[in-house]
């Protein structure tokens, strides 16, 4: 039989490799927050008849209109994505006509978003609250779902550790994506993150459920063997339910679903994969670590994190 739990420290190390670089990028450069959180203006225009003007020219035009903090990103097909600070209605309405006049062709507006600074603040605080409430809801739910078995608290804590792991991987990927591919953390990203958190728990419940069932059947078996047996039993199911169904759909969305949903689909894709991965390679191993109280040996040098 596959011995997954025996290699548990290898998997812990692997997760750290996934999480740490992103966290470093985040700590050094910050998260690429979209105007949903910061407030501001986002204009995405396409020039059909002429070549898109140089970013410097656009910035200059914006400055003449009295708009600050302008940042221009070019994209294929003569598309410009222009971000700047929030302005009043009249100034905003004048941007397109000013562009038409300056560059000699009317740009096609693909997207034009304007978010007031107070809204941005409110979205941010509510986002924080939503994540907190989601985490709390999950804790309560797990406590409820495992109320009848010994060490229900352990299961809850391990599920939450794994959930945090999934969230951190998603954050890490987004921070890296933000700095290399120009991704933005917007409310859709948050939606993806909250969904990942929700689905993450779903998987842990299925795996824990099997451990619970087996511990009633094999009373004498060593806990590590029992947990490993349970994981292997559910492995097929985990792979099939998550990877082969939801992931197929998301992969199709990421590849063919158009620009607007690409980041969303990729984050869900990675996040849901992590949800499945962490229930097998993080949550269950942590249960074993807890059962054996292995932290007592962590600092004695006999077993290292890279074992």
């Amino acid at each position: 039989m596959l011995n997954i739990l025996g290699k548990r420290y290898l998997f812990f190390a692997l997760s750290l490799v996934l999480i740490v670089p992103g966290l470093i990028v985040m700590a050094v450069m910050g998260l690429p927050l979209a105007i949903d959180f910061t407030g501001g203006l986002l204009l995405e225009v396409k020039f059909d008849t002429i070549a898109a003007p140089a970013p410097a020219d656009v910035i200059q035009l914006y400055e003449e209109l009295g708009i600050t903090n302008t940042n221009v990103q070019t994209s294929g097909d003569n598309i410009l994505i222009i971000r700047s600070s929030f302005v009043d209605d009249d100034t905003r309405a004048s941007i397109i006509s000013a562009m038409t006049e300056r560059f000699g062709a009317e740009p096609v507006v693909l997207r034009f978003d304007s978010v007031g600074p107070t809204i941005g603040q409110e979205v941010t605080s509510r986002a924080g609250l939503a994540v907190a409430v989601a985490a709390l809801g999950v804790i309560l739910y797990i406590t409820f779902a495992f109320r009848g078995i010994p060490h229900a608290f352990r299961y809850g804590v391990c599920a939450i550790i794994a959930m945090l792991h999934d969230g951190l991987v998603v954050l890490s990927i987004s921070a890296i994506g933000g700095h290399f591919f120009g991704w933005q953390i917007d409310s859709l990203f948050l939606t993806a993150l909250l969904t990942v958190i929700g689905f993450s728990v779903q998987d842990k419940i299925v795996v824990f459920d099997r451990i619970r069932e087996n511990s009633a059947i094999f009373r004498k078996l060593d806990f590590e063997k029992l947990a490993n047996h349970s994981i292997v039993q559910t492995l097929q199911r985990s792979i099939n339910t998550q990877l082969m169904t939801s992931e197929f759909m998301l992969l199709a969305l990421a590849l063919f679903g158009g620009v607007t949903l690409r980041e969303f689909a990729i984050i869900l894709l990675v996040g849901l994969f992590m949800g499945t991965y962490s229930s097998i390679f993080i949550a269950a191993p942590f249960l074993v670590v807890w059962e054996k109280r292995e932290w007592k040996t962590w600092f004695k040098g006999s077993k290292t994190a890279s074992a």
């Binding site: 209605d89 759909m249 199709a252």
Partner: protein, 492 residues
């Protein structure tokens, strides 16, 4: 057996109704008073358009009355319909905001500018002083027209009081607190009138709520004007004022800005009047916009634009096409996988999923759910979830078959054993959806709400699909094909 028969009848009826609802129609769906659009409603991100978030323009800590917000929403909707903007939707979002959605609008900025005008019309006594059109002045009326709760209009009230104090000082008149104190230009002529204009508080003779009906016509010169007819009490006030003030100026003021300031030529006793566009005259649009603003009354609270989102029609169409393609490709992959891997049950699960999709779309239409891009993602994700439930059951089925049970025993046991994990995991998803919906609803983030709603609906319907539909279909297939002995058909 009879229970299965009940299920079959139930499923057939349900699918029949769902397919009937799903078919796109020119006419709206109608059952008695219940009416729904004939086609699935697409969000702005799919068809292009403008989304605007309006916020009560009052002090940040002031409480906005829910009734006033609802009245404002109603007025905005009436105005939009009056302007001929089709399919516009206004929704109260949270406790101080209103979200408006304008699909496929050509001139969104202008329309929003007209809609958000507070629309308070005042007839203001200027005395002997003429002020040009467009002058912004202070009147004794609050910005808030209705007998507003003082909290809601905290800001405007403050300004007025402040001004009163200043004027009082200038006029050296002792005033009791709370009385209306407006220096009447006639009674206390002030030499510094011209320079003091911005600080002066003018007397409001009458407000727009005394108007009975309003229409756009042309005057003798062929210019567009707005005709109005007053209610009885308005007629009396107007007659009284105009007979006493012949030769004086009466300004027609909209939201504190002078539209025109005609001289009172003679007493007007019949309760009719005309608003002309001042020196430049009105264009038809200007006259019509004014008429619409007046006809539906003034907003009980001033509003400001705090967020706008415009999606161009090309991007919307592109997104729609691509997401449909993506959905089809994803679905094809799933069909391949399910039939290869789970064989007969897999094929049956696909039938169940198609039934699931048909029912879900019908539910979207009946609620109705406005489909956005994230909404489509939510739908696809919940389709995956619906399959998950099937797979959980089939994996159990294989295990039980390998353990040597008969097919019938295995089927019964697998359904029973798989149910707790299906239930638990779906409840977890429902909790997440609820939190997402709450997160999205307070500031009109329709993208987030759309995702949460389609996900939650999908989960609920998928439970039904896995437990009732798949089970019935599989039972039918097993009996019909008489393949009870070949475990290979079940991928075991």
């Amino acid at each position: 057996m009879s229970r299965r028969l009940v299920n079959i009848v139930l499923i057939v009826i349900l699918l029949g109704v769902a397919i009937w609802v799903d078919i796109p129609k020119e006419q709206p769906l109608k059952i008695g008073d219940f009416s729904r659009p004939g086609n699935l409603q697409l969000g702005l991100d799919l068809q292009g358009g403008l989304q605007v978030l309006l916020e009560a323009d009052v002090a940040a800590d002031a409480v906005v009355d829910a009734g006033q917000l609802e009245t404002a929403r109603q007025i905005l909707e009436n105005r939009a319909n009056g302007l001929g903007v089709s399919e516009v939707v206004f929704q109260v979002a949270g406790d101080r905001r209103i979200m408006g959605e304008f699909p496929g609008l050509k001139n969104p900025e202008e329309v929003v500018a007209t809609l958000k005008e507070t629309g308070q019309l005042e007839f203001v006594d200027l005395g002997d002083e003429y002020l040009p059109d467009g002058t912004v002045l202070k009147t004794e009326q609050n910005t808030s027209a209705a007998p507003a709760d003082p909290q809601a209009s905290a800001e405007p009230t403050l300004t007025t009081e402040e001004t009163i104090v200043k004027t009082v000082e200038a006029g050296r008149t002792a005033v009791a607190q709370g009385t209306l104190v407006v220096p009447d230009a006639e009674a206390t002529p002030q030499p510094a009138d011209a320079t003091a204009t911005p600080e002066k508080v003018y007397k409001t003779v009458m407000t727009g709520d005394k108007i009975k009906s309003i229409s756009v016509t042309t005057d003798a010169l062929g210019k567009y004007v707005v005709d109005f007819e007053l209610k009885d009490d308005g007629t009396a006030i107007f007659a009284d004022y105009t007979s006493k003030n012949v030769g004086k100026f009466l300004a027609i003021v909209l939201d504190k800005k002078i539209v025109s300031a005609p001289r009172v030529e003679s007493a007007i006793t019949e309760g009719r009047g005309q608003i002309s566009g001042g020196q430049n005259g009105f264009s038809y649009e200007e006259a019509n916009n004014l008429a619409i603003t007046l006809r539906y009354g003034s907003l009980p609270i001033p509003l400001k634009v705090v967020e706008t989102r415009v999606v161009g029609p090309t991007l919307g169409q592109d997104s729609l096409n691509k997401s449909i393609l993506a959905g089809l490709i994803g679905f094809l992959l799933v069909i391949l996988f399910m039939t290869i891997y789970y064989r007969l049950p897999g094929a049956i699960a696909i039938l169940a999923i198609i039934s699931y999709a048909v029912i879900t779309l019908a539910v979207y239409k009946l609620i109705p759910v406005t489909l956005t891009l994230p909404g489509i993602a939510g739908f696809l994700l919940s389709t995956g979830g619906a399959l998950d439930a099937n797979i959980l059951i089939f994996e159990r089925l294989k295990e039980e078959l390998r353990a040597g049970r008969t097919l019938k025993q295995a089927m019964d046991i697998s359904w029973k054993r798989a149910w707790p994990s299906i239930r638990d995991s779906n409840i977890a998803t429902l909790i997440t959806s609820a939190i997402l919906f709450w997160f999205g609803s307070a500031f009109g983030a329709s993208m987030v709400k759309g995702f949460a709603l389609t996900l939650a609906l999908g989960v609920a319907i998928s439970l039904f699909s896995a437990i009732v539909i798949t089970r019935t279909y599989l039972g039918l297939a097993v009996d019909g094909l008489k393949i009870t002995k070949t475990a290979r058909w079940y991928g075991a």
